[in-house]
Symmetry: C2
Subunit: 394 residues, 2 copies
């Protein structure tokens, strides 16, 4: 397979936009990515469209991408609708990479668009709550001590993970609060972030408890947005001057059929490093799936940025903050940038592409040459149903 | 890109199965395809899972494939959920082809599974009715003269196509009835078909009118089912003795961005013939997307099996019946075999693989060496939102 480059990247601001739609957001992100690539829509030969919740939330169960892209000049080419819960957009990126790597296309578009807000906020929570095996949901709820449908079932899952992590690592709620303080600080430097600002650990701990030990500020918000990337062949990249390369993209469903005990993120990461010919010490900047604050600490360990149980110490050392050794979530992460679920995987990559191109202004990681994104989607039991690890380099 | 072979194919019977689920159907089809390929689940390196309606019908909006396949031994590998309305499964096949053609996988699974029946039949119709741009549905309904939600909106669309086709070609309702008589006759020879039997043109014309000029028997039924194919590299095929090759798979969204007037099926077919190095006269057996009877005549023309307006004469000549020059829908087609929408694209290919391997018993097309499938999904205006043309050869 040949090398694949990122020719362009673009996204909408994330936030609560009552007048937006999956389509209007997709149009904005597509136009931004194409403009950044210096390409017209006619240059795109295939498109992978990610969305996770528009069937339940807006009734558009089928052909979401064709509907969303119909006024962009992209119809006529292959369009495939891709879903992998909160990892939908990185899955679309994976397929766009495969289309170019295989030689099937010179230029491919990966886009994720999600209109997750709804006048009835419970509907948004309910949609996210379908990213588990519904036949097991009642059992999971009973085990987690959640209170049924009228809340965010997913934050009950993350709260259970947090309690397990605290028990095995000694991490505290204050450690989770420190993740939030860092990421909200980063988000304040990102004009596309839904939130962002100066918070203290006490602010975070004092916010309403959602599911013990998670407080509201430890949970990523409901929001709308879209993000898109243009992938291209070495020939197109050479003409356009694109310098960011896809060093590895590894997609896995969570459970290992061989009964392997290794976490899915670790398995996928080991394979990604291997394909890229790189290791944890080569990584300059990272975006992880901090749908809830403890996930950033857990994943930092699974990515090999530190040893088991060392996530809180790594954070406390400042290594994962802007200016540190390996900044994590310079965009603000899901906690501050926002988490329109079907768009998140591409938004992480838009941030990393811009970091590698030195375009991140106040939140720039100086001299970044290798970037890694971790995007997770859904749960089967305690495992993520989908994990995508992407490594980009220049 | 390297050649790709079909190592195995399997499907469930299609029908109304109150005790089945998307998962139970998927498990049965997966097991059948793997057994046919002589491979264990552990040999599969990536899977593409197609389903179109389980979000609206059963609430499983996300991670449908991971949930459906979780007991098959396939978890741990990449699983991507793919949707393109009634062309979902052939889109999954297209991606599985790409995974093997690119060298990313030696063995890939494409599977479609759909539990389309629901205790409230209107819910099944409503789910299918989301395969258009919902913002345009009211306008489409007004133009087509449909009566709102309480019926099959999709058959209103096909009825409109039928009326246009009659006006330009001189075709009559009796011609559409002859398609049904042929395909029900074929279906009677297919043990996996939902229906099939000996009907007369008068029987078909006398059945209840659904939307002028379509009668009930001219419409594909609501049903459940799953179909799966194992794709593999030339090396794996050589070891297992697989002889059926993917000569071409071309996916397109309907409208041509350049404003080209050519129908999407024609554009995709021309490209598929070109990639396969073949033409219409080389094709020995065909499966087309006869969601309603007139579609078979229209598509026969778009595939180049006959000239414009010659579909009815081609049918009347017997050329498209078993024993004729180029049998169309020997499986019984969507009309008789059934149309669990997210499974249909793979089911067409299961039939063609079996035809090329001489395994179709009473409905065998003798000496078939080249087979073509046309699968369509959704509508944007008058155009299919997705079209997949697949050519298989041995």
């Amino acid at each position: 397979m040949r090398d694949v480059y990122v020719g362009g990247a673009g996204m909408t601001r994330f936030g609560k936009f009552p007048d937006s739609s999956v389509r209007s957001l997709a149009e904005e992100a597509t136009a931004a990515a194409l403009a950044d690539a210096g390409l017209a829509a006619g240059a795109v030969e295939t498109a992978f469209f990610a969305n996770a919740a528009a069937g339940i939330l807006h009734g558009q169960e089928m052909i979401r991408g064709q509907v969303a892209l119909r006024h962009t000049g992209l119809l006529g080419i292959p369009i495939v609708n891709v879903e992998n819960a909160c990892a939908s957009a990185s899955s679309a990126f994976h397929l766009a990479w495969m289309a170019v790597a295989s030689g099937a296309a010179e230029v491919a578009l990966a886009i994720g668009s999600e209109k997750l807000t709804h006048p009835d906020k419970q509907k948004s929570f309910d949609a996210i709550g379908t990213a588990v095996d519904l036949e097991q949901r009642a059992e999971m709820e009973a085990r987690l001590g959640g209170s049924g449908d009228k809340r965010s079932f997913f934050m009950d899952i993350y709260a259970g993970m947090a309690r397990d992590y605290m028990a095995r690592s000694g991490a505290t709620a204050a450690d989770f609060a420190r993740v939030v303080v860092k990421n909200q600080g980063h988000g304040a430097l990102n004009p596309n972030a839904q939130y962002g600002g100066a918070l203290t650990v006490d602010d975070v701990l004092a916010s309403r408890e959602v599911a013990h030990p998670l407080t509201l500020l430890m949970c990523s918000p409901i929001g709308d947005g879209a993000a898109a990337l243009v992938l291209c062949s070495p020939e197109v990249a050479a003409r356009s001057g694109a310098t960011v390369k896809v060093a590895a993209t590894v997609l896995m469903s969570g459970r290992d059929r061989r009964g392997d005990e290794e976490p899915a993120v670790t398995r996928a990461t080991v394979r990604a490093y291997e394909r890229a010919g790189l290791g944890p010490s080569d990584v300059d900047v990272v975006e992880v799936h901090d749908a809830a604050a403890p996930a950033e600490l857990i994943v930092s360990e699974e990515l090999g940025l530190c040893g088991p149980g060392e996530g809180p110490a790594l954070l406390a050392s400042g290594a994962t903050a802007l200016g540190g050794r390996v900044p994590v979530n310079p965009s603000g992460g899901l906690l501050a940038k926002g988490h329109p679920i079907g768009a998140t995987g591409c938004a992480q990559l838009v941030e990393l592409v811009d970091q590698l191109r030195g375009r991140c202004a106040a939140r720039q990681v100086e001299g970044a040459r290798v970037a890694l994104a971790e995007n997770g989607g859904g749960f089967l039991g305690d495992d993520p149903a989908a994990v995508v690890i992407t490594i980009l380099s220049r």
